[in-house]
Symmetry: C2
Subunit: 196 residues, 2 copies
DNA sequence: AACGATACGGAACACTGTTCCGCTTATCAA
DNA sequence: TTGATAAGCGGAACAGTGTTCCGTATCGTT
């Protein structure tokens, strides 16, 4: 139920007709461009225009804007999720692994204009986006937190969900205001996790 | 330029005509009710309906939605601002004063459905809101931070603006998701401030 | 009472995301 | 090759925003 739209499990072929498959790719490319230029909240019509396609075509491939955004960033989110266990395995300290993983996540968010804002769950219409990010990343974050807590490096009792949301929230508006440095605030939050 | 709309410096009389003054008060009350019931992002039309007034009347008194929100919460923001120096004077530890002041601010934000979200500066149309809150609270926060830094209770080099924005961001969506406890995340952030 | 300034109501505008359906076109069987 | 058919497409139309505009009603004053 999380996301069934547009793309499919690894390697599948997509829509039957050739033109449809082509358009799906065109749409992903156009959306990526427009997101870079105007942020993820860019009007659907702009994306359609950029792709040289009608808005109806977008909605056939991606039932909602959130699905399109998920499709565009899916690979990066997956890569981030996979980096978690890898970091945990390669570092001496789970806390260090956690900190680096969060860094990576923040980098991702901050470089995508407006994405952090779109992740708010109460932001009607972006439920799917919220759901995919959380489904994918919360378990990883939880694993890192648990490992660090088991070693006694951090205070116990924090869940992946709240940390992810906290970090995500801190990244909102990180672009669009040079006086606010989200990375610094996130660093503070992570520092606060340390054992007292 | 920050905010000149609707209200005026302490004690002034408001619009000339009696009905206009009356409507302004009705509007403030109606807006307050609707904000409690439906959040600060409630449609302007809803507020107009609740007040028994046309939308044009709202815009005559409050040129933009942000101005209306500012007017509704002005007193509470001011009270919060004034609590800063008071706390600083009455506590032994500036850090303690800072922590309590932040608590108070968080309480305010969290109990106002959607207000934290509306505070985002990149949220087009809410510039006035953003500006008023920041103008009023950033200096107070900065003062508390400086006092704590001078005592060596926290790491130096943090400004009021970034802390206020960080705290504000952490409060986004605090209602509407019982799994996310904004107060807890803010506490983490403040804990992270402590000297290492 | 009459008049001018002020304020009101709500239709209209510009902009969203999303749905719908007549038309086009790719695909495949004959 | 040629229909027939289903899949896909475009963009007008719908529903919902915030905001503007202006004819009308009301207030306060002369």
């Amino acid at each position: 139920m999380v996301n069934d739209s547009g793309q499919q499990a690894a390697g599948a072929a997509g829509p039957k007709r050739k033109d449809a498959r082509r358009n799906q790719q065109i749409l992903l490319d156009a959306a990526a461009s427009v997101f870079v230029a105007s942020g993820v909240e860019a009007p659907v019509r702009d994306i359609a225009a950029r792709a040289g396609v009608g808005v109806g075509t977008i909605y056939r491939h991606f039932p909602t804007r959130a699905d399109l955004i998920v499709a565009v960033y899916r690979h990066q989110v997956d890569a981030c999720a996979e980096a978690g266990p890898a970091l945990l395995a390669s570092r001496e300290s789970p806390y260090e692994a956690l900190a680096q993983w969060i860094d990576r996540f923040v980098d991702f968010l901050v470089t995508k204009h407006g994405l952090a804002g779109a992740l708010q769950s109460d932001n009607a219409g972006f439920d799917g986006l919220h759901a995919y990010f959380l489904d994918r990343l919360v378990p990883v974050c939880g694993q890192l937190l648990d490992a660090a807590a088991d070693r006694g490096e951090i205070r116990p009792g924090f869940g992946g969900l709240e940390l992810m949301r906290g970090v995500g929230n801190l990244c909102i508006g990180a672009d669009s205001d040079p006086r606010y440095d989200a990375r610094r605030m996130v660093a503070l939050l992570i520092a606060g996790l340390r054992r007292t």
